[in-house]
């Protein structure tokens, strides 16, 4: 039985009759960044969304296979999805802060999970914003609407929001694809820092980004995992021709 990190065994996802993800086996280590790359529609986002069972929300999605975290298979019917999701943060392609104040965006999760003490909440807000490198920019305007922030700031706020509930794993679905280059650089920097504490799995379209920030890279194509290896090896000396073709920009 695996006991370290996140282990995916024979994971398949079906939308109706179509099999979007085909029998994936993958191991993710703690304190590492793993990048999932591949052309659009290759199943990498669907795969990511099954790691915190977000696909449960889609009516005709059917998932088979196992995802082990510690000694629990999270696809087991007995697993409490709500509790599971508290341990797995998620960041989306487009920044999606709640229509609330900056402070409330972050305090919302922890307060729901039972922290009512005002001082404790203030602390969580501050540490989360600091970790997301947003504290200096927002400390004087915590009670303004989160929608008043720029796109890049909103995305970092969303990262801070997920950090506030103390997750172990953070899933990121193309977190920088809707941002300008400066904001993108900040997010990448942030990811490199966060990896000291978290297991980060990031879907990205941007080959250079994957090369810059990840330790491991997985290449998906047509719902299948083609290759999975150290990022450095993948980008310099991939063992499959398909990977080489994709990375060197011959398709996708």
């Amino acid at each position: 039985m695996p006991n370290n990190g996140l282990y995916v065994r024979d994971l398949s996802v079906y939308y109706g009759k179509k099999q979007a993800v085909k029998e994936i086996n993958l191991d993710f280590a703690a304190k590492e960044v793993t990048a999932l790359i591949g052309p659009s529609g290759c199943g990498k986002s669907t795969f990511l969304r099954s790691l915190n069972r977000m696909n449960d929300l889609i009516g005709d999605a059917r998932i088979t296979g196992e995802i082990w975290i510690e000694d629990k298979n999270i696809n087991d019917p007995s697993v409490d999805v709500v509790l599971l999701r508290q341990k797995i943060g998620m960041v989306w392609q487009r920044p999606n802060p709640f229509h609330k104040s900056i402070y409330e965006n972050i305090a919302f999760g922890p307060r729901y999970h039972g922290i009512k003490n005002k001082k404790q909440l203030n602390e969580i807000v501050e540490t989360s914003l600091r970790k997301a490198a947003l504290w200096e920019e927002t400390k004087d305007r915590l009670h303004q609407s989160a929608l008043s922030l720029s796109g890049g700031q909103q995305q970092r706020l969303c990262i801070a929001r997920s950090l506030a509930v103390k997750p172990k794993i953070i899933l990121m679905d193309e977190p920088a694809s809707a941002l300008d280059p400066v904001s993108t650089a900040k997010i990448e920097e942030l990811i490199s820092e966060l990896k000291q504490d978290y297991c980060i799995i990031i879907v990205t379209h941007n080959m250079h980004q994957a090369a810059r920030i990840s330790d491991k890279t997985a290449f998906f194509f047509m719902g299948e995992l083609v290759e999975f290896d150290d990022t450095q090896k993948m980008f310099t000396n991939p063992s499959k021709k398909q990977t080489d073709d994709y990375i060197s920009g011959r398709f996708g």
């Binding site: 998620m90 999606n96 229509h99 729901y112 969303c158 929001r161």
Partner: protein, 295 residues
């Protein structure tokens, strides 16, 4: 050439029809307001109606209409919002859901007079509520509920998926996600829809003839104890509303100034409905500006 001529004629006809429709509304509103507003005064709005003499007002009817609307909303909104949430968030794509959709559709196409008869039989007689505000409010609920369900369902469906997922990913329960993230975002749309629906409820008469009744007891507007029989707030007293009053004086009014009273009351009714419409439009426009500005 003839194709071009036909095109020109058709265009002219269509524009003429559009102008004609605008003229109908302008004529309608103009007629009601010009004819009615002359009769509307503070005294008219507050005094009691006279059955045979002239100079009667519409005070109790106006109060009844407002009170009945409030009662109806108190019952309809929680039910309609709940059912709307079910339809948008909990309903699975299966036969049962199709069946509920059919129920909502049938309920919304029921003639309001039939709803009124149902109220007469079940609420007034069977449950012994008599002709009362409460029976009227329940009948109006039947009449208004399908609309409320649709409004809520659409408003909740319009909430961006990412908002819902963000909340669930933080480990919030579905119900908490609905109530504290999705409902607040959907609220302006629900509010706009509710206000428009209120206009419909305010003007409805057929469902009320045999439920809230066609008479109003002598009300003591200093007695605000809801359990006292002549208190305006007593929900178990009969209550003729403004719309019912207009119908009644048109068909059996004996007062010499019945036509003027009908005109005045119609003007008041139309103004209230216009107010509801403009409020809804204003809120709708405000939301539109807010959302387009933030993007």
């Amino acid at each position: 050439m003839s194709a071009k001529l036909a095109n020109r004629i058709a265009t002219v006809v269509i524009i003429a029809v559009a102008i004609f429709i605008v003229a109908i509304l302008a004529g309608l509103l103009g007629y009601i307001l010009v004819r009615g507003l002359g009769h509307v005064s503070w005294d008219f709005l507050t005094s009691v109606p006279q059955s045979i003499r002239e100079g009667g007002g519409i005070g109790p009817q106006l109060f009844n209409s407002v009170f009945l609307l409030v009662l109806t909303l108190l019952i309809t909104v929680p039910l309609g919002v709940g059912a709307g949430i079910y339809m948008s968030e909990y309903a699975k794509a299966n036969r049962f859901t199709d069946f509920i959709r059919l129920v909502v559709e049938v309920l919304s196409s029921f003639p309001s007079i039939v709803v009124g008869l149902f109220g007469l039989l079940v609420l007034v007689h069977y449950f012994g509520l008599g002709y009362s505000l409460f029976a009227g409010a329940l009948a109006l609920t039947v009449f208004n509920l399908p609309l409320m369900v649709r409004i809520t369902e659409q408003a909740i469906r319009a909430v961006p998926k990412e908002q819902k997922e963000a909340s669930l990913a933080l480990g919030l329960s579905r119900w908490k996600t609905i109530t504290s993230i999705m409902l607040p975002i959907a609220m302006p749309n629900i509010l706009t829809g509710t206000i428009l629906a209120s206009g419909r409820v305010f003007g409805e008469a057929a469902a009320l003839l045999f439920t809230a009744g066609m008479s109003s007891p002598r009300l003591d507007f200093t007695n605000w104890n809801p359990f006292s029989s002549n208190s305006p707030l007593n929900p178990f007293r009969p209550a003729e509303t403004l719309a019912v009053h207009i119908w009644k004086i048109n068909s059996e009014g004996l007062a010499p100034d019945a036509a003027e009273i009908a005109a005045g009351a119609s003007a008041v009714l139309v103004i209230v409905v216009l107010l509801f419409n403009f409020t809804a439009r204003f809120i709708g426009g405000y939301i539109h500006r807010k959302f387009t500005a933030s993007k």
